[in-house]
Amino acid sequence: MVRVFFSAGLRSLTGGATDIEVEAGTVKRLLAELDARYPGMAERLSEGTAVAINGEIINDALYEPIPDGAEVHFLEALKGG
């Protein structure tokens, strides 16, 4: 199981839930699981979104494995200067 946290901007889709536990071995599977529970979530997170797994921020993370017990956050993808 991994624990997924939702920023304030995503909570309109989760009915106010701030975090949930789900079974997901990769980011792709996690997105599918979240979209099944919260329709529209996958589209919301499809572009311009990075994923933080146990504190490490990863761009283009669709196929990234998620270890069991990990904490996952979705963030706005960042630009540097």
Partner: protein
Amino acid sequence: MTIADDPATTAPGYKWVGTRPIRPDGFEKVTGRARFGADLMLAGMLEGSVLRSPHAHARITSIDTTKAASIPGVKAIITGADFPEPAGNPTDQDMCRNAIARDKVLYEGHVVAAVAATSKRVANQALAAIEVTYEVLPHVMTVDEAMAPGAVLLHDNMITKGVDPAPTEPSNVASRVVYQRGELDKGFADADVVVERTFTTKPVHQGYIEPHAAVADTTPDGRSTVWCSSQGHFAMRAYSAKVLGWDPSRLKVIPAEIGGGFGGKTTIYLEPLAVRLSQKAGRPVRLVMGRDEVFKATGPASASKVKIKMGANKAGEITAAELWMAYEAGAYPGSAIGAGSMTALAPYNIPHFIIEGFDVVVNKPRVYSYRAPGAPQSAFAVESVVDELAHKLGIDPIDFRLKNAVEEGMQAPYGPKYQKIGFRETLEAIKNHPHYTAPLGPNQGRGVAAGFWFNAGMNSSAVVHVNEDGNVTVVTGSPDIGGSRASMALMAAEEFGIDYDRVRPLVADTEQVGFNDVTGGSRVTLATGAAVVEACRKVIADLRGRAAKTWDVPVEQVEWVDGQAQHVDGSQPPLSLAAIAKGWARTGGPISAAASLNARGVGAGFSTQIVDVEVDPDTGHTQVVRYTTAQDAGRAIHPSYVEGQLQGGVVQGIGWALNEEYVYRADGTMDNPSFLDYRIPVASDLPMIDAVIVEVPNPGHPYGVRGVGEVGIVPPLAAVANAVAAATGQRFTDLPLSPPRVLDGILNGTDAN
């Protein structure tokens, strides 16, 4: 000066990492041999000029190029009609329209047409002969104007994202972001002191000395070679291809040396125009911006408005914070409001907060990245208020920050938990620095501030070749802005155990090495460095195999030590890199390896800074008299170039704080598009910036590297403002702190008091 968090673990006996050799590109640069964007000359090359909108907002009703085309020497003219209809996602489409206007111009300087001719004089003559008729429209120049009810719209169909339910009417607000924790009311109820203020900053430019320049040579086979100064030639290829409607592989982009970028050269301006002009003319074309074009038409950093309320208890704990932030995006959506919101409170562990941010379009050039994009503006507000809270509570400002500082394992305001970070170490480095307790003179004040930046990883490729003489060539695709050739060579020398001078680092074009993302996000030493280290290790594994083959022993019996293969029991004479290279034909052929990666293990950066200023009470002029910055570099591969990054960030932040601003006339045109009237700090304005490198190694990188290029610009705005507040007794909340503004505050008080 370098401070390591634990000398026992951070002095692992490197021979090259941490030393300060001369940069490999130094000779070419100091002798004028290095070729920058505008230096290239090709046989038959034409000179180009760009026609730009004189209006802040207007509809183009017609463009007639007939007269211009008839001028002898004019070889090509292009307008928006010479490019395909913008395609792709909304950001791509905006980029296409920003490259050259179609039906509307959205800011003074927006490209309308371009000409290629046999000389610059003829090209400019042709520009003057192009007849454009405009229907001038009302304009909005600030977030207040753009967000006001009934404001004129830049984009008729822009619906604010991030609002639920979605608005039914368009507006100039492109998006809204929210970050939230805890219960705000409870947090403020727990506070003994509350400070509430509104802060503003003006647009500021990256101020790179080298203007944008591009040369394109488009050939009849439908391909084009582009030479340009940029922070990433692979990005220039990809973006130009989108504007042209081409596959990227039709373009070959060769990186020129770059005279400064700071984020501003991570996007295209001239490149697709040069390609299309060259295609129409059948000859190479060079386009070079003047400084006024750089100011008017390339992306500055956002102007900002930040309303902040923050509370703390008598124990010195910040209990709550509330921020409302609006950033100017310029003509198209895309300010760094997200990063500004996420970084605003990042240094502090605050139980209750809400941050609400808005990305707002205005009739100014589309903003673009500038060192830690978005972070300086919000840090100006937060660090000013943190300073004021500390003073109101009678707590030393560093101690106040230490009391609230985030540490490894704490949850960042933007969500995830921090990994290994060195914020506390930078605070302690400043507190323990002699500067912190040095006496101040008359009219002088001291300010401190802190800052955070994520840093980035992203995609990098590298190739490592062993030459037949045993020297090594390291090829990457990351333009060298701050000394990265030296860093790559140092890491390769360390890996191979050979002298630095035996490593030759190169920056190759888009067809000679695998993809590399831009030199931005403070990522190159970390990410491209990791690719170089990985490629070196592959080569070393190969070298061990060749030694094993030579000695007819299992490879497990071969070690690589100090630049040579050694048998574990010493039963064979060592084989040097040169000796293995000399015999490579007998052991498997030439020796090389490549590595490509999407980098992991990014380490976040923190900086704490202290500044003394002296304010002339008669003129309002502020002189920086002493400045010290302490920044966590993880590990400084080349300390001199790390110090350069620390100092450069500070200097640009001082400019932001004291002098720099776009000044606009009532008609929405810029009044100060030159370095005479847009005043950046120069060496004679400033004292030596004392750079203290703090080393809390990043466990995610083979040498512990953290990005260092950006976070240094985050604290200076507030540090300087806090020092001016200490010197004058007035809290200034609007930047820049130019003499008229400061004098007015001294004489009449500021609204903030």
